[in-house]
Subunit: 220 residues, 2 copies
């Protein structure tokens, strides 16, 4: 019971900070997404391609959460992006306080877009509001069709579901329509997008979604 | 500070129960593994094949942890196994108390092997001792070579590292030797096994590891 109350307080405090962040981002007209998916679902590769695509056009900054290693931020900087690693130590998710700290210390104030790549984990990060405009959930083809049903919490909270690594569909044994239907079953309003960072398939739709979202934010 | 102390108490209490479970399993000569990996790394498919292989030879019981759905236990029962789903609700891991409850209520006492399939998550489950003989970590080829470095906690605690879905190596773009080397870098004593439940490659070595472990447990 004590543990439950502490948990409730943790979430309430997180939500309070997230709202402050959301106000800052709204004032600065910065479009913010919080990307959540399992280890190895293709988050960082997708962001590399995204950074390369928008280089010179939009000012994008990326925060990358990981339990250990600087590797992802290094990869994104090599792709030409401006990126900062948040090493959580033991923590299996990012929380609003970590983003607030970066807002004070590292995040540039005049940004078109802030991308937060959460820790590779389909469970815990879904509970933490980071002040984002949208949560984006990624599941890759090899992970299997039933993932939306088994991890409903993130699908309920996300506005966009990316089915990644669709180049693996060529190997067979995966029912694309079934996973998309499962996504809609958990969240009928979720937008769905199929892509492969490796083959390039579907990437244009992703880039258009970002452009449109940045435009809407500027006009909001 | 209060939160930290509560966390320490949670782990201490978990370890206390895990030790009691370990004594029970030792008395009953039941070999116990705790399988940990990301969502979609191939845990349940591997267990289906394992249950089919040992059907009639060994008495195996499986506990399957998931945040939601009974699907995995249903699949394992369809494969001819005796399986019970533990739905954790929000929790991103199994803990010793959940196993203790099943030990009292559902787990048969005369077992050759108890398989615990943890919640799909490479972070949190690594901290909870469930009274097992071995933690087994699974990473699938599509997840990428750097996983042992990014999720060291489970690699430090596991005795066996299974690289799964090696049939995906045919698509290229993955360095098998690199991920195996990364595994050894984090834990030089870890045993490594490459297999595909789909193609059957490497499965014999996995079955032999189980047979040997069951024999060792009987003679312990």
């Amino acid at each position: 019971m004590a543990t439950l109350n502490i948990k409730r307080n943790v979430f309430a405090e997180n939500d309070r900070i997230a709202e402050i962040l959301r106000e800052h981002f709204a004032k600065n007209k910065t479009f913010v997404i919080n990307i959540i998916g399992s280890p190895g679902c293709g988050k960082t590769t997708l962001l590399e391609k995204t950074i390369e695509h928008f280089k010179g056009k939009y000012k994008i900054y990326t925060l990358v959460g990981d339990v250990q290693t600087e590797e992802d931020a290094v990869r994104l900087r090599e792709a030409g992006g401006d990126a900062k690693q948040i090493i959580t130590g033991g923590a299996c998710h990012l929380d609003a306080r970590m983003i607030e700290k970066e807002f004070e210390e590292s995040i540039p104030k005049s940004l078109d877009m802030l991308i937060i790549e959460n820790v590779g984990n389909l469970v815990c990060p879904s509970s933490y509001d980071l002040g984002e405009d949208h949560k984006v959930v990624i599941v890759s083809v090899p992970e299997g069709e039933e993932k939306p049903l088994k991890y409903p919490s993130i699908f309920i909270r996300a506005d966009l579901f990316i089915l990644s690594k669709v180049d693996y569909l060529a190997l067979g044994g995966f029912d694309k329509e079934k996973i998309l239907a499962n996504g809609k079953k958990v969240n009928p309003k979720i937008r769905e997008l199929c892509l492969s960072s490796r083959s390039g398939e579907g990437m244009d739709e992703w880039f258009e979604w970002i452009e449109e979202s940045i435009r809407n934010k500027k006009n909001s």
